[in-house]
Symmetry: D2
Subunit: 371 residues, 4 copies
């Protein structure tokens, strides 16, 4: 029987995987059990944030050493999703999702289930369009099947890493007679994130195929999934998906829950998602309960209308600090204050991922004691 | 009988005082009743933040127009304390503290009392030394007397604006045979803030004259006052003090309370200071109670030891974003989330102002309905 | 007979106009002779750069004091064009363009001539469209007439400040049944700058009315004027124009010359424009010739294709430093090195102002001795 | 007979060593001939710039693959000196210094000679003190011997990478009864750079052992070497030295020259150093001569007195952009404009490296045709 285990590890810098190395060397983690990594590195989170590439290169070299497989192959098998930017009280860290086979017997309780899947490479002209949405949706369903989750409502968090168009890919597509949506990588990334969110919503049955057109992406913000967490980058060519949910086919004592966040001040969502897992925050999680928490996953967005609850914010017009850095720092300050810990994953770029101007929060916690 | 009133107003940009102008024109505020201004402007909060000067120039021109007094005189009579930096969810705003005479009769209840005082100009060679501490302490006591607050424990927040040494002032002092502590304005500002905090602690009787030496400043962080909020700038030559407390000699229905914050995650302090004023945050202040709140005043500091509750933060080593901008954004995210409003004053540079690595929070709220 | 005089003055901060005040008090400058100001302030040069507003407010209050006219009127009569951002070796300064009447007699030599003009307020729906281009062109011709410059080739520099659309103006236009080009102020600013550049080109006869359509703006970069320097801002409602050229109807000993800059490495253009004025730079302007120089005016732009002379630059993908700050610092380093002085006006946002990926340089210098 | 060859290669991102890999695979470069790398990566150049570590990890893995030696050994044999920050027109690139044995016969002409050396690990309590200076001086002399350069005046550029104190190293030293100069890594880095510059000056005989005390470091700026280029970092434990000079014992057609730069506007130094190599810049290097240039190496510093040639600069007081980023962008703009190429190494932190407020420039060029 499969058991999901999550190890939240700290790093001294983006190339520091020593804690994972030590756990593998000591035998606590079996390298072949590593299914996915989700982490925060201390870059700026923008196009020129190379801390993600540095971490990934180091990770794959480490796993390659332990598994005797080429890093170039591992990178296509193990999703490594990193968000740059540890503004304010956030602490650089990474969660290692492992799936050891254990001889536990089913208890009937629904426990954390993990599934991953990779789509076929996506053609440049499809990025940010319906074909992209459908590719993501199919890959999400495949990851759900891989996780053995039977009911869609038991899925609580879907992390997708989407390819986007580069200048070179766009040029090649045009030369082949195709018409990419845009040849601007930045615009392409935003459309790719939107396609990823629509794909999750479609894959989870939150919307239907007829509910949207290509023009809905980055335009109709009523379409959103509170379980979608999307990143996009030039370094991937297919959609990579990690599905997290609960299933009675899994052993262990971890469970996951999620809540949409209405806006950047929605402390209620944080308290509620903890309550879903039997953890009180009045006003802060107790030291004992804190040891039960394995991962905090948050998406957020600076309100594009320029105010929060009627009061003007200055994030969108700041030439000195990128708006995503502003919002990550603010929301992380709130979440870390309720949790009492800075090792939280707070990621920006939340278009169509939770309510417009808000986002979502998912928490993984042990149902008894700490992990 | 004096009544303290606080008007929290928004600005469209740092030169926008139109809301105050309108209230004066309409007669809601009498220009001669304006005793002090405390506000947040949308600059970077550093040496090259000119939004404070822009706001101050505009404010003094406005009051000059209404009062028929020269701006150059008003600037020496009305403390205008601005903190630059509205990171994250903070909304640019300013609180106008007014003291109208009313014909109310004493009720015995302690209500918000406001006192201001200006010291004599401080010699450059005294900045950041015992003479500076003593000058602040004396000015604080003068402001307390001005406020008519009888017991020191009824003082809850002391805002001080301290002069620092400029290259020119240091050179003049040296030419006169004096020895300034430093001729580096940035170092001087930090020592001036420390002297201000020690001065508040001394003025409030929290420490005694024998408890410290010049060497204690910026060194012995066990010395601190949870009621001191200090800023320092080249634009002032004397210590300017605003004391806020409660007194039964004042009418109105506002009260103030304060709490030290142990660290950047101390949500308990926020909930407690609200409870001191009879306001619940479970987890957030209700819409009805929100209308009772007049001002939120917070000081904070990136932990100089490089971690928060045992987990590494990256604020101090970030070459891209100043550490004070990081911590203001994080703490403001937490406070605004509990309050449900981004119009909060969160200021950095909190050396000796509350616990090391933490800071303090003060709240002014009406005891019945809104203001 | 009119004489053009240019005073290049330094400031200690964006609200420091003390050098101008002193010159007026001493009688060197007659306040009523001030025709225009062009300056560099030390903000970030972006949407949230308030150093421009702070300087303008201080300037207009100063002139109002000396002239006895309301500041609100002066701001509609005297163009004050500021560019934020003194990256690298640039020194904050402003050039005051004055037009005293003198009893000089014509010598036949062409000397610096200054003309200003203001258009009627521009309707929001016209911003960034042909009507905008035509309004600028007409205002440019009016300013040329005002300067008494007879031949279009004698115009060397046209500074235009264009209105753009704000969210509020766009909403009002839509409510009135009009269709603004965009309601995004940032996009509107870029289109307004493009319209300004097309307007200058049209006004100077560099292009004809049939040479372009609305779609050419920000798209056909072959259309450009090497004499156009455009800024755009929410604070103006009409197009403000300052024309600088040479005319035998003017006295004095100043002359102006200009050259297009092919790219950010075009040192040849700098040397050539100096040579046009009889000044050698081999490799640097001599101390004696340096005193002859009154103003250096430069526009530049980070190459939007991502490389300079075949080598990748990183300006456009930097999340930490705005691309315009990068290019201003680099080009200013080059120009200041050739001139030997950091008091140069280097402004970004040079769409259609000089060659694509480059820009332009104009220099004003005395033809004998210094000014 | 040894021949020095220099390959200047571009990178698409800090982990991109594909151009070097291709040259090795094609046989143009023999991996065992690689003696040192000096490069510019596109980080922020500060403490949290991880592009240097990313590049180094990738480089060492690449050489390890080709040489069959562990990367951990190579990192102690091949100096890899990186400067973060490609502000403005700088293009990310790296120069690979190779020393193939060739069967050339001596011509008597002095040609580029390369020498490297590593000191023993430096004790933490010695960092930034005389023992550090002497260790660097000895290592410099060792590298000169390694290069076979006979006369000290034939040395033109000495690159040193110095260890600094980390919090951990300082703590260990204190526990062992030693007294480190400081336990602040940032201060330690500056003192380490100063010790490196003094060490180069001592090793080159520019100063004598009696000319300075510990107190001279970061204080007596009259002590400086126009041939010293120092970096400091937590990642090294010994002093790493690369000496570049000219020697008749070397074949090839490369030569190196250097000049001090008096300040950030010293275009004369750039023109002069090119002239030393027979290259004219009037005002720019010709396309033909440009192909002869192999490397441009520059050190610079924002003038700590706050002005350049009497005019105030704003680099030191900018809370948004680090002063080193400002000065690198400005000086690179000037150097690249004279050269006509953005692939130049411009590094900040030039304390005691060239004149105070200035720096130095070294150029390597072929004496006939291109390389």
């Amino acid at each position: 029987m499969r058991t999901a285990r999550v190890f939240r590890l700290s790093m001294a810098h983006p190339g520091d995987l020593s804690e994972l190395d030590e756990l593998i060397v000591r035998g606590t983690i079996k390298a072949s059990d590593v299914a996915a990594i989700i982490g925060k590195t201390e870059g700026n989170g923008g196009v020129n944030d190379f801390t993600r590439g540095y971490f990934t290169q180091t990770l794959m070299a480490l796993l390659s050493k332990h598994l005797g497989k080429p890093a170039a192959q591992l990178i296509r098998e193990i999703p490594c999703v990193l968000s740059g930017g540890t503004e304010g009280v956030m602490s650089p860290h990474y969660s290692v999702f492992c799936i050891p086979e254990t001889d536990a017997t089913p208890t009937g309780a629904a426990r954390l289930a993990i599934g991953t899947a990779f789509s076929a490479p996506l053609a440049a002209e499809n990025v940010g369009r319906r074909a992209h949405v459908e590719s993501v949706a199919a890959t999400v369903r495949q990851a759900i099947a891989n996780a053995g989750i039977e009911r869609l409502e038991d899925v609580h968090f879907v992390q997708v890493k989407c390819p986007c168009v580069t200048v070179a890919r766009a040029a090649a597509a045009i030369a082949a007679g195709k018409t990419p949506l845009t040849n601007d990588p930045n615009k392409s990334m935003a459309f790719a994130r939107a396609a990823g969110a629509f794909g999750v919503a479609l894959g989870l049955g939150e919307i239907k195929a007829g509910d949207f057109t290509d023009a809905s992406l980055l335009s109709d913000f009523a379409v959103q999934s509170p379980r979608a967490s999307i990143s996009s980058g030039v370094e991937v060519e297919s959609n990579e998906v990690v599905v997290l949910g609960n299933s009675s086919h899994w052993a262990g004592d971890l469970r996951i829950a999620h809540r949409p966040m209405a806006d950047a001040l929605d402390i209620g969502a944080i308290v509620d998602v903890l309550a879903d897992l039997g953890i009180a925050a009045a006003p802060q999680v107790s030291a004992a309960d804190l040891t039960r928490i394995s991962s905090i996953l948050v998406k957020c967005e600076p309100d594009r209308r320029g105010n929060v609850r009627g009061h003007r914010h200055t994030m969108l017009d700041d030439t000195d600090i990128n708006a995503q850095r502003h919002i990550r720092g603010a929301v992380a300050g709130l979440v870390a204050g309720v949790i009492g810990d800075g090792r939280i994953f707070v990621s920006g770029g939340a278009e169509h991922q939770g309510p417009d101007g808000g986002g979502l929060i998912a928490v993984i916690a042990a149902q008894s004691g700490g992990d």
